[in-house]
């Protein structure tokens, strides 16, 4: 049992101050911008909820949001099952386990723009390994700077490459925490490998999978750097996801009001989806 102790606040205070400094002040700035209009020179006018209305009716925002949702859905549908499958087929102990884990963690430790640059080089038609294989060996006409489909495919492959390991590591952590006795009991009970997965492995992975899905949702929904470096949102607007559009508006066009309104809606969506998912996944663990 935890003890009631208000002095615990002193322990939390440094964290609170630091995060508040970083989160509250900028958030207030954003809220402030979102309800004002400016014509430069730091002169602001009250604009009410105008930016929000504009944004919610804007074709451009709808398109970016649509692309973002499509991208995140595809990413989750590929990475989560793939990660589970890989984790299931890993050996549970032995010399190779740390080697595999280190190699798998590697992509996650590369700066995001390097990841973008790396895939750029990798996908260059004719002189990149991927581009060369596609065009010359397989004879597919492939150029991600020209063809939206190729751009999407490359970005998705890049993200799978970059982040599936997170799902693998988390699922694997859940799997190795299952005592041997469970597998032995299942063998004796005559359970099929599907039953073992369904009734032993999946329930034990549930907690880590919740974390995995949450993290993958948040990070893929917020993806910016890799895509910006790889395609810059193109060809055309085909890979202009929410973050990219936001930075274009805020830093490119310096439209602070619309950018701020968009930030808030964006943040609200992430928060809402995460909260819904979290509540759903943990609702029958009430005890």
């Amino acid at each position: 049992m935890k003890t009631q102790n208000q002095k615990a606040w002193f322990f939390v205070l440094p964290v609170l101050l630091l995060v508040a400094f970083n989160a509250l002040i900028p958030m207030m700035t954003v809220v402030n911008y979102s309800v004002q209009e400016t014509f430069g020179n730091n002169v602001f006018f009250w604009h009410g909820l105008g930016w929000f209305e504009d944004l919610l009716n804007s074709e451009r925002f709808h398109a970016a949001l649509g692309r973002q949702i499509l991208f995140t859905t595809i990413i989750l549908l590929i990475e989560i099952p793939l990660g589970i499958i890989i984790a299931l087929s890993m050996p549970r102990q032995g010399f190779w386990v740390p080697v595999c884990l280190v190699l798998m963690a590697l992509p996650m430790l590369i700066p995001w723009n390097v990841v973008g640059a790396m895939w750029n080089i990798f996908a260059l038609p004719d002189i990149g390994l991927l581009g060369y294989l596609m065009n010359t060996t397989l004879g597919v006409d492939y150029d991600m700077t020209q063809d939206p489909f190729a751009a999407w495919a490359t970005i998705i492959t890049m993200d799978v490459w970059h982040w599936t390991s997170l799902v693998v590591l988390l699922s694997y952590a859940g799997l190795v925490s299952i005592p041997d006795a469970y597998y032995q009991a299942a063998k004796i009970d005559g359970a099929s490998s599907w039953s073992v997965f369904r009734y032993i492995q999946l329930p034990k992975m549930k907690q880590v999978l919740t974390i995995a899905i949450l993290l993958r949702f948040m990070d893929s929904f917020n993806i910016y750097t890799e895509v910006f470096v790889m395609t810059g949102g193109g060809p055309g607007n085909s890979t202009t996801f929410l973050s990219i559009d936001l930075v274009k508006i805020a830093l490119g066009q310096f439209d602070l009001g619309p950018a701020a309104a968009m930030s808030l809606i964006y943040f609200a969506i992430t928060l809402l989806v995460s909260w819904l998912f979290y509540t759903l996944m943990t609702k029958d663990e009430g005890k």
């Binding site: 440094p14 280190v102 010359t136 693998v168």
Partner: protein, 265 residues
């Protein structure tokens, strides 16, 4: 059994391909890169690496990155430790709300904060310093560190604390000499993740710095934007950014698998 291990092998192969390509390219001359496809460097060269190690703007960018990442890791862990202890041991007014609010900061898209951060840190006169980036990265690293550490600390029975008090330990002495060693795996894992997320982040790091604290990742964007003329150099700089991560992950290899299993939702 044999057939099953094919899946991880294929997966790792897939992971290694782009990395191989990057490394292989870093040993090629720009001429060779542009002249056509070659699986291995035909004219092997150290030229790209020599450029990086002799040009101060390159190697300082590298050092800058390491400075703010280390600063951030130390800072995050230091403030997260007492907070995680409070969350794992005590109930206090608003504890659950606070914990959830901390986690929501992990969800904020960095793009949302770029401009306000720029203004905030300019206003307090920290723009273009290592501290600015280290502090900014606290936004998402502190919640993560608190979360991981809390998971590990909850796994330590409360009796340990009580025994120490009965034995006459003061709180700071107990915390440093008994409690910390008990959860050192957790500290390792938390530090690893702080290092990782600070090291890989670019958007904030780039926009909070100009010259003095410019990170390697931002320095690289120069070559990328100069229309691919210096692909070899870009590849070499990219290769060098993999190394710190590889070293850190090697040290925590036995903990990563367990790290998140102990963290709780």
């Amino acid at each position: 059994m044999r057939k099953r291990s094919l899946i991880p092998i294929l997966y790792i192969l897939f992971l290694m391909l782009p990395i191989y390509w990057l490394i292989s390219m870093s040993f090629k001359t720009t001429n060779e890169i542009l002249s056509g496809f070659s699986l291995f460097p035909q004219t092997f060269t150290w030229e790209n690496y020599i450029t990086i190690f002799t040009d101060p703007s390159w190697y300082w960018a590298y050092i800058n990155s390491i400075i703010y990442v280390s600063l951030n890791t130390v800072l995050s862990i230091c403030v997260a430790l007492p907070a995680a202890y409070a969350f794992s041991r005590y109930r206090f007014l608003g504890d659950k709300t606070l914990f959830f609010w901390l986690l929501t900061n992990r969800m904020a898209p960095a793009a949302v904060f770029v401009l306000p951060f720029f203004q905030l840190y300019s206003a307090v006169g920290l723009f273009d310093t290592h501290i600015a980036v280290a502090l900014a990265h606290c936004l998402f690293n502190i919640p993560l560190a608190v979360w991981i550490l809390e998971g590990f600390m909850s796994g330590v029975p409360k009796e340990l604390d009580e025994t120490a008090y009965v034995d006459g330990y003061s709180f700071p002495r107990f915390f440093i000499t008994i409690f910390l060693p008990t959860i050192k795996a957790g500290v390792g894992v938390a530090a690893f993740f702080c290092f990782m997320f600070s090291w890989v982040e670019l958007l904030l790091a780039k926009n909070l710095t100009a010259v003095d604290a410019k990170p390697i990742a931002a320095e690289m964007t120069k070559t990328a934007s100069s229309a691919g003329y210096e692909l070899g150099l870009l590849a070499a700089a990219g290769t060098l950014t993999i190394i710190p991560g590889a070293i850190v992950v090697y040290f925590v290899r036995n903990y990563i698998a367990k790290g998140f299993a102990l963290g709780r939702v």
